[in-house]
C-alpha cells in the first residue's frame, strides 16, 4: 500500500479514525522492555536491598544477617559524606560547564557555511574514545614531569612545583577536565538537535522587528530550547553522579580521599575491603539521592513524556 495515496484519499473523505482505534494496548509492545528491565534492573535493586542487610564474614566465608547495622554505619561514616560531597561538587561543576560550553558551541556551530559540517564531525571524535582511555590520555597530559598541560601551566607560572593530580586541591579539577572534554560535545549534539528542530518564523519576524542578537537569544532561543536543556541536564546529571571510570583510572580516589566519588567508594568497599553488604548499602544510598534529585528536577522543569 502506498502511503501518499492513503493520506490523500482519507483527507478528501474527511473520515477521522475513532479515538478507540488509536488507543489500543501498548503492553505487548512494551513487554520485551519490561521483561529486560525486571530481570536486569528490578532484580539487582532487590538483591542490593537484601545484600545491604547482610555482611560478608571472612572467617566463615559467608554472608551473615546484620539487619540495619550497615545503614547505621553509613550515617556515621565520615568518608561516605565526604564522597557524597565530592560527587555533588563534581556533578554540579561539570554539569554547569558542560551546559554553558555546550550551548555556546552549539550556537557557534549551527551554521550551513562551508566547513561547519566537518567541524561538527571532528567534535564528535571525543565521544568514541572509551572513558578509561580518555582517563589515561589526560593522565599523560597532566603528568607531573612530561605532561603538556603541566608544562603549559608551569611556563605561565600557574602551577609552581606541584603536579595537578598529586595535589588534593587540584586533583578533582584535573579529573573533571577529562569529563568536560569528553562530554561537552555530547551536549553540543543535543543542543544542535534542539536548535535544528526550531521553526524559523519567530526568528525571522524578530529580526524584522529589529531585535538584537542578545534579545533573540534571551527571549526566543532559550525558552524554545528549555525542554531540550532540561532533558540534557537530567541525562548528563544522572551519568555524572555515577561517575567511575575517570577517577578509577586517573587517581583511584587519591591523593588522600580528595577524589572519592560514591561509585568509587562503593566499588572499593565491595572489591577491596570485601564489604559486600556495605558496598550495596552505599549503592542504594547513592540511588536514593539521585532518585530524589531527579524527581524534584522533573517536577520543577515540568518534563513530561
Amino acid at each position: 500500500m502506498t502511503r501518499g495515496n492513503d493520506d490523500a484519499s482519507l483527507r478528501t473523505q474527511a473520515i477521522r479514525a475513532p479515538r478507540a482505534m488509536l488507543s489500543d494496548h501498548a503492553l505487548p509492545w512494551l513487554l520485551p522492555l519490561i521483561a529486560m528491565l525486571v530481570v536486569f534492573a528490578v532484580f539487582p535493586f532487590f538483591y542490593n536491598i537484601w545484600l545491604s542487610m547482610h555482611e560478608f564474614v571472612p572467617k566463615r566465608r559467608a554472608l551473615e544477617w546484620v539487619g540495619g547495622a550497615n545503614w547505621v554505619k553509613l550515617f556515621a561514616d565520615g568518608r561516605l559524606w565526604g564522597a557524597l560531597g565530592t560527587t555533588l561538587l563534581y556533578t554540579a561543576i561539570c554539569l554547569v560547564i558542560q551546559l554553558v560550553l555546550g550551548l555556546g558551541i552549539a550556537l557557534l556551530l549551527d551554521s550551513d557555511d562551508p566547513g561547519f559540517g566537518f567541524l561538527r564531525g571532528v567534535l564528535t571524535l571525543t565521544l568514541v574514545i572509551p572513558p578509561a582511555i580518555t582517563g589515561m590520555m589526560f593522565l599523560l597530559l597532566e603528568d607531573a614531569q612530561f605532561g603538556v598541560f603541566t608544562y603549559a601551566l608551569k611556563s605561565i607560572g600557574l602551577l609552581g612545583g606541584q603536579s595537578i593530580l598529586g595535589n588534593p586541591a587540584t586533583a578533582l579539577a584535573g579529573v573533571m577536565l577529562a569529563d568536560i572534554w569528553q562530554w561537552t560535545p555530547f551536549m553540543v549534539l543535543i543542543f544542535l538537535a534542539g536548535l535544528r528542530a526550531m521553526p524559523t518564523e519567530p526568528f525571522e519576524s524578530a529580526v524584522i522587528d529589529g531585535a538584537s542578537a542578545w534579545q533573540i537569544f534571551r527571549r526566543l532561543t532559550l525558552p524554545m530550547l528549555s525542554k531540550v536543556i532540561a532533558i540534557a541536564v537530567l541525562i548528563r546529571g544522572i551519568d555524572l553522579f555515577r561517575t567511575f571510570d575517570y577517577v578509577y583510572v586517573m587517581t583511584s580516589g587519591g591523593p588522600g580521599t580528595s577524589t572519592y566519588t560514591l561509585s568509587l567508594y562503593a566499588w572499593q568497599q565491595t572489591f577491596s575491603f570485601i564489604n559486600w553488604g556495605y558496598g550495596a548499602t552505599i549503592s542504594l544510598f547513592s540511588l536514593f539521592v539521585i532518585l530524589i534529585v531527579a524527581n524534584v528536577f522533573v517536577y520543577l522543569t515540568k518534563l513530561r513524556w
Binding site: G115, L125, I129, L140, F146, V228, I238, W276
Partner: protein, 295 residues
C-alpha cells in the same frame, strides 16, 4: 534556525575563525594522543613536549595490531606473539558492541513506537521508571549480575556482556527512538488504521521504515556506549574475553606505562566507532532531543 539573517562577510569570517579555534582546542588531546601512537618512544618524554615535529615510527601500532605499516620500521609484526598484541580484543569489542546494539535497538524500537503512538495511564511514570534503571551505580548492577551469571554459566561469555550492555543502553535508546517516532505525523497511522491495517503492519511497513535514519543513529550511539563501557566488562569477565577499554590497563606495567602502545590501541579503537558516527551524524543531530519536544 540558521540563515535567519544575511550576515556581513566580516561576521561570517569571525564566526568561522571562532568555530575552528574551538574545535581545534577540543581536537588537541586527540592529536597529541595520535602523535604519541606514531612517534619514537623516547620522544614521549621530551621537554618541552613535542607537539608537531616528532620522529615518525609505526612500531607501537605494529606491535599492538600485528599489522605492518611498511618500510619505516625494521621490526617484523609479532603476529599474536607479544604481550601487547590486541587485535583479538578489538574483535571481542566489536562482537559485543554489535550484538548488544542489535538487542537494545530491537527492544527499544517496539517500546518507543508504543510510547509515541499509544498514550496510556501512567505513561510519564513508566518512562521515568525506565530512565531510573540508569540511576543505579554501575557496581550495584554488576554484583547481582555477577552472582546470577555465575549460577547460569554466563560469566566470562559474550552473551553475558552483550545482555548487560543492551540493558545499560535501553533507557537512552527508548527516549531517542521515541523522539524520532514523534517526528512522523500520527495521521499516517490513523489513515492506515482506517484502511484496516493492523498496528503491527503499520509499524513494520510504514513507520519503522520511515524512522530508519533515527534507528541507525540510535544504533550508533548504543554501539559507542557499549564500545567504551568499562566497569561491567571489568567485573563480568575474567580471562575469556576483554574489550578495549579494559585491556588498556595492561599497558601500565611495573616498569612504567607503555604510552606509545596504549595510544596506538586508543587510536585504532577510535576508527570504527568514528566511521559509524559520521555516517549517522545528520540523523543524530535531528533526534537527539530525546523526546523532550513533544508530549
Amino acid at each position: 534556525m540558521q540563515n535567519q539573517t544575511i550576515h556581513s562577510n566580516g561576521y561570517r569570517v569571525l564566526r568561522a575563525l571562532a568555530a575552528w579555534l574551538v574545535v581545534a582546542i577540543f581536537a588537541f588531546p586527540i592529536w597529541y594522543w595520535f602523535t604519541i601512537a606514531f612517534r619514537v618512544e623516547r620522544e614521549i618524554f621530551e621537554l618541552p613536549p613535542l607537539i608537531f615535529d616528532f620522529t615518525f615510527s609505526g612500531k607501537s601500532f605494529e606491535e599492538v595490531f600485528g599489522i605492518s605499516l611498511g618500510g619505516t620500521s625494521s621490526s617484523r609484526p609479532l603476529a599474536g606473539g607479544g604481550n601487547f598484541y590486541m587485535l583479538p580484543r578489538l574483535w571481542d569489542s566489536i562482537i559485543i558492541a554489535v550484538f548488544s546494539t542489535a538487542l537494545a535497538v530491537t527492544i527499544a524500537t517496539f517500546a518507543a513506537y508504543a510510547l509515541s503512538r499509544m498514550r496510556f495511564d501512567g505513561q510519564h511514570h513508566f518512562v521515568f521508571w525506565v530512565l531510573s534503571t540508569r540511576m543505579m551505580p554501575p557496581v550495584a548492577v554488576a554484583i547481582p549480575m555477577f552472582f546470577i551469571y555465575k549460577q547460569f554459566g554466563l560469566l566470562d561469555t559474550y552473551s553475558g556482556v552483550i545482555i548487560v550492555h543492551a540493558l545499560m543502553n535501553l533507557p537512552l535508546a527508548v527516549l531517542l527512538l521515541k523522539s524520532f517516532f514523534d517526528d512522523i505525523p500520527v495521521e499516517i497511522d490513523e489513515a492506515a488504521l482506517i484502511d484496516g491495517a493492523s498496528r503491527w503492519l503499520i509499524f513494520r511497513r510504514i513507520v519503522a521504515p520511515m524512522a530508519i535514519g533515527g534507528v541507525a543513529a540510535t544504533a550508533v550511539l548504543c554501539f559507542i556506549f557499549s564500545w567504551t563501557e568499562f566497569l561491567f566488562v571489568l567485573t563480568l569477565t575474567q580471562t575469556g574475553l576483554k574489550t578495549v577499554p579494559v585491556v588498556s590497563s595492561t599497558f601500565v606495567t611495573s616498569t612504567g606505562t607503555a604510552w606509545g602502545k596504549m595510544a596506538a590501541l586508543g587510536v585504532g579503537a577510535m576508527v570504527p566507532a568514528f566511521i559509524f558516527i559520521l555516517l549517522v551524524q545528520k540523523n543524530l543531530v535531528r533526534g537527539l532531543t530525546l523526546g523532550s519536544l513533544k508530549q
